[in-house]
């Protein structure tokens, strides 16, 4: 009893003392956000013909795939009965926002991402299927799906199909992450979540985090490969990051100002929470460290004429801070929304465990896993456009 009451202040309904959604559910919107953001960056090149971001096109797609493959794992791990999760496909409850997850996910994975990557890589896959040796040869042969036609005619068809898929993919990426926002935004019982702005705030923060991830990955990987970073590309990405971030921040401020000005029945409770329990993750980490600071850094690169080296350093710092800020935002939504009582009379504490099913350790593993997958994907399907003819996959 004592341990349960520890960290409880004021009055919580008895069933509320333990948090229902843990750090794993924080990861879920974080990871899907990275997927949607990376994809939208990729589509910049494809649909909006922003030629300068081309060096990141394939890397962005592979990043999106690597994170998308991991996206359902935190959910699966969190379920009391993971073995029953297939029921969401077989007997979905149509009025449930959550029941649609499986379908949105599968649509996005199979119809958009995998298909687009396959079409874009088909020429390379066919070449590799003919040249690779050892067991990898069989992998590539399988990946051709029996289609070895790389005539100009066929490639033109691939390109058109890829374009159409990207066109479909953009609203799908919006759907994927807007929908994740809806899962929270539609819970009327919870005033911290319940706002129609939630899907759109989630969406823009997703774009921000996805762009930042791909930008950082591109810079890191290029440096690791000992190649020259294409500054025109990184400058353009950073500019888009800056614009998207301004929209994201405006939306979040709109939400905040609206709450403060309207000051409805939940206001005193939420206000107190933000000023106490959520002060560090919300005000300090999310807003100051994770939003204002990177926005300021990005603004500097727009206003001042910095050297290439200074710009690279600034972008790297801004990108990292952005990722921390967006993670804090997910944390504050998911965990913050459970720290106060629905009676508005009390608060509880999230006691994160370490090596348990929903502890910090599995969360860390789940955050590292996408990078491992990405490494395998990059080895299998080298995304370097410029020198792809010279590149051979590591056997």
């Amino acid at each position: 009893m004592e341990s349960i009451l520890h960290g409880v202040e004021g009055y919580m309904y008895p069933n509320e003392m333990e948090l229902q959604w843990s750090i794993l559910i924080v990861l879920y919107p974080y990871i899907t956000g990275l997927v949607a953001g990376a994809f939208i960056l990729a589509s910049l090149e494809r649909v909006f013909r922003v030629e300068s971001v081309k060096p990141t096109y394939r890397l962005a797609l592979l990043t999106a795939l690597a994170f998308l493959l991991v996206a359902p794992l935190p959910l699966q791990l969190h379920l009391g009965h993971p073995e029953r999760s297939l029921e969401m496909y077989l007997t979905p409850h149509t009025s449930s926002a959550m029941a649609m997850f499986g379908f949105v996910y599968l649509w996005y994975l199979m119809v958009v991402l995998v298909l687009e990557i396959w079409l874009d890589y088909r020429q390379d896959i066919v070449r590799l299927a003919r040249t690779a040796t050892g067991p990898l040869r069989h992998v590539y042969r399988l990946m051709t799906l029996g289609s070895y036609d790389v005539s100009e005619e066929a490639l033109r068809l691939d390109d058109r199909a890829g374009y159409v898929i990207t066109l479909v993919g953009i609203p799908s990426a919006f759907l994927l992450h807007g929908y994740v926002g809806f899962i929270f935004g539609s819970v009327k019982a919870n005033p911290w979540w319940s706002t129609p702005l939630m899907p759109i705030v989630f969406l823009f923060s997703a774009i921000v985090s996805g762009i930042a991830t791909v930008m950082l990955l591109y810079m890191a990987v290029t440096r690791l490969r000992g190649r020259e970073i294409d500054m025109r590309c990184v400058d353009t990405i950073a500019r888009y990051l800056f614009y998207a971030f301004i929209i994201d921040f405006s939306l979040e401020m709109l939400d905040l100002i609206h709450r403060v000005y309207e000051a409805d029945e939940s206001f005193h409770t939420l206000d107190f929470m933000v000023k106490t329990r959520l002060y560090f993750p919300h005000i300090l980490v999310q807003i100051v460290l994770g939003t204002l600071l990177p926005l300021g850094l990005l603004a500097l690169t727009q206003l001042l004429k910095l050297t290439e080296g200074a710009r690279r350093g600034t972008y790297a710092a801004a990108g990292l801070l952005t990722l921390v800020g967006i993670f804090a935002m997910r944390w504050n939504v998911v965990i913050g929304g459970q720290l106060f009582s629905k009676s508005f009379l009390g608060y509880t504490t999230y006691k994160m465990q370490f090596a348990t099913r929903e502890g910090l350790l599995p969360a860390l593993v789940l955050m590292i896993l996408p990078f491992v997958i990405l490494w395998v994907l990059v080895k299998l399907l080298p995304p370097w456009v410029d020198e792809k003819a010279a590149e051979q996959p590591a056997a």
């Binding site: 309904y13 069933n15 959604w21 959910l75 379920l79 009391g80 993971p82 007997t91 979905p92 459970q338």
Partner: protein, 254 residues
Amino acid sequence: MNEDRRDFLARSGRLLFLTGAAQLAFDAVLRGEPEAAPNYRTTDHWWGMIIDVEKCIGCGNCVRACKEENDVPREPFCFRTWVERYHVDAEDMERPEVDSPNGGYDGFPERYRTGDGSKNFFVPKLCNQCAHSPCVQVCPVGATFESPDGVVLVDKTYCLGCRYCVQACPYGCRFIDPRTETVDKCSLCYHRITKGLTTACCEACPTDARVLADLKNPKDPVHEFLRTHKVQVLKPQMATGSKTYYNGLDGSVR
């Protein structure tokens, strides 16, 4: 002798006419307890509850009876029903002082004195058996559902344990059973009420502060009660179609 023969003929006649279950049902109807009929029809009932705040003495009998009857885990964060104690400054309805030690399972240790310008009262809580349940709406597989007789139930063999319904309930009525990793909540003692019994909490209440109500049964005193009392549901702004009506509910209660 004649009486016996007449009884015998009447019974045999009914048996011949109605046979088996139907005859048992007819007996129950004649006794004025149609719910007791073995062929309980869900469409004939619409269950709810009346809670009279003025009558609750905070003894915790209901909480204990519920845990016993429904095998609710004894942990202090697993309650199908619980009792809250309110201590409200007469001039400050916005900030009541509320406690519910162990959900009221062990009763309430004395804490407040009368005559200090405040009011003190107990409020029993349980699932409101909402007609438009937010918890049912969000369940991804339909493991929780509204029965045709108006009770929100959980199919534990189907529940994923995703906890979305726990988040969606505005009243904090749901919890995860740590033994099964599935959600649990008040079933309005469905296993009892479909046999013509009342709920365990109502049965154990010494002051009739909580009374089971069948809103479809014209003979149920609930209709008279609702007509003659000013009742309220919890958090009416949530528009959940709550069927747990409170009499004498103070505005400070949430």
